[in-house]
Structure formats: C-alpha cells, structure tokens
C-alpha cells in the first residue's frame, strides 16, 4: 500500500511546504521567538503595524531585522481594526511596509470575544481583493459567511476554533467538520488552539493548515511547544490522508477469538 504524499499546500497559487503559520507576538524574548520559528519552520509568520512613538528613536528595529534575517513570508494582519475603512487603510500601509500583497483580514466586531464582524467582513474582503490583495480572512465557522467569502474571491479562509488567545481548542466541532465538507478552498484554522492535539484534531478533519500564536508563545517552553505543534500538524495531516477507521458503538476484540485457550461456551 502506498503512502499518500503529505505535500505542502497552495494558497493563491503559491506553494508552501509547511502547513503551520505562526504568530510572532507575546514571546518571552526575541531570541525565543527566533528559536521557535527555526524549529517550527512555518509557512508564514504574522506581523502587524503600530504607531511609532512620539520620539522615533524609541522604535526598535529588532523585529524588522529578525523578519529580514528569517526570510520567511510575512502575513501582515489588520488586528485591532473595527471598521472596514480602517482595514483598507492598514492593508495598504502593510503592503508598502512589508512589500507583500498578503493580508490577514481581521475585522473585529466584539471586543470581549474578538469575534469577527461577519456582517461587514465579506464586503471588506471584496474591496481588498479588488485592490489585488491576497486575502486570508479571519472568520467564524458560519458556513454561509465562509461561502460568501469564497464567492467574492477569497481563495482561502481562516475560521476560528475558539476566541483568540483562549487556547480552548475547537469549541464547535460539528460546525467545523461540516464547514470542511462544504467549502472546497483551502482552510486554515486560526485562533483558539491551545494544544498540539487541537491542531491534530482539525488537521484530521481535513483542514489544510493552522495559524497559532499564543499557544506557543505562552507555553512554559515556547520552543519545544513550537516543535510539538509542528509535529502535530503533520501527524494530523497524515491521519487525514490515511483515513480513520469507522467508529463502533460496541467493543470488538482486536485479538482473534478463534483458538482462545480454555474457551468454553457458557
């Protein structure tokens, strides 16, 4: 029996060898961030944009230098944006600063849960795609919203597993599995993963990748956790390709019963 090839995946026509996307925030130190990236070998790393201080010398160029040194594709986000016009402006600024058309579309609708504003997400994605951005929208597991995002031209979408930074893992497994069955473009589970087993789980369901940050950054040993997630993503992918056994409601002995010593009919 031949192994199915755990090849990389394609987003907007670009091939990636890794199915893990890694955030760069909240690490104990820049060195730990760098070590985590080295060991995880992510397809992309996420970054953001913020105001320079009143005194420009206060801005550290360390992060920028690290990005240049790593030479890994950068996925800028629009974190913190609450209005479509803010997203559009930040996306254009990100394109100029990072010299990339990739954008992780974050449009927040609720500050408590950081739930995306799904009522305005689709139109915002449409406007960005019209401006030739490669849009990866952070969205909920709502099937109709996801389908509309695909309809306006998103070639990949990123439903959440749970609210950002909670580490709870997939909070709506049924909807996420159904979504995978119905949506044909690549899907990356973004946000809410806390354990490598969560990453394996969604990969086993057929998701194409995962994007995470806090689960690694706030681990007691972020570098080791980065490695664990990297392995878990691959394990889940291999399991999906292998195809799981059908679940049974009753026990079935794996050891043959024929020839069992001392067997007798009761």
């Amino acid at each position: 029996m031949q192994f199915k090839n755990n090849s990389g995946f394609s987003l907007y026509g670009q091939e990636f060898s890794s199915r893990l996307l890694l955030g760069t925030s909240r690490y104990p130190s820049p060195q730990i961030l760098e070590d985590a990236i080295h060991i995880a070998k992510p397809a992309m790393v996420t970054a953001s944009l913020r105001r320079q201080g009143a005194n420009p010398s206060e801005i550290s160029s360390g992060f920028w230098e690290l990005l240049k040194k790593l030479n890994i594709p950068v996925l800028p986000n629009t974190a913190g944006c609450h209005r479509p016009d803010e997203v559009i402006q930040i996306a254009h600024m990100a394109r100029e600063v990072f010299e990339t058309d990739w954008i992780k579309l974050e449009l927040i609708g609720d500050d408590y849960t950081l739930q995306p504003d799904t009522l305005n997400l689709v139109e915002t994605a449409r406007l960005l795609i019209k401006d030739n951005f490669k849009v990866l929208p952070y969205c909920t597991e709502d099937l109709v919203v996801c389908q509309r995002l695909v309809d306006v031209g998103c070639q990949a979408i990123m439903p959440w597993a749970a609210p950002i930074g909670t580490g709870k893992g997939p909070s709506n497994p049924y909807a996420l599995q159904l979504l995978r069955e119905r949506i044909t473009v690549p899907m990356i589970v973004d946000a809410g993963l806390g354990l490598p087993s969560h990453a394996s789980q969604v990969m086993e369901w057929g998701y194409d990748g995962v994007l995470l940050n806090t689960a690694v950054a706030l681990a007691q040993n972020p570098v080791q956790m980065a490695q664990a997630f990297s392995l878990a993503v691959n394990a889940g992918r291999y399991a999906y390709l292998a195809g799981a056994m059908p679940a049974n409601h009753v026990a079935q002995s794996s050891t043959p019963t024929l020839g069992t010593p001392f067997w007798h009919q009761s």
Binding site: G23, S25, A47, S48, R50, S61, W64, A79, M93, I164
Partner: protein, 65 residues
C-alpha cells in the same frame, strides 16, 4: 501652523510638503504614513502639502498574531 504627528502636536512655521516634514522627523525605517486616516503612498510624499490641524500617523512593523 499646527499639525499632529501620532497624536503629538507639532508646530510648523509654514505649510510644508510631507517629505520635508519627514526629513525633520526622521522616522525609523520601514514606515508607512497616513494623513487624516488616509494612506499616503511613498510616491506622493513630495506632492502632499500638509495643512492646518492635519493628523499624520507614522506606523511601523511590530509583532502580531
């Protein structure tokens, strides 16, 4: 003439082009600019004149998730 740079008030002697103001401010590279919440591409710095009470935002890369 009063302008605001990242919400800090600054005084200009006279209306100036954006590239002249940036020469004075010396922001750290890389950066991008918006004026009154509208992105201004680098190619337009020399043709953009700042007006009274304009709000300039200078933004730079930071870590993100």
């Amino acid at each position: 003439m009063k302008i605001f740079v990242n919400h800090q008030e600054q005084e200009l002697a006279s209306p100036m082009h954006l590239d002249e103001v940036l020469d004075l401010l010396q922001p750290k590279n890389p950066f991008a600019i918006s004026i009154n919440c509208q992105f201004v591409a680098k190619v337009h710095y020399g043709s953009t004149i700042l007006g009274e009470n304009d709000h300039i935002e200078i933004i730079s890369p930071v870590t993100g998730g």
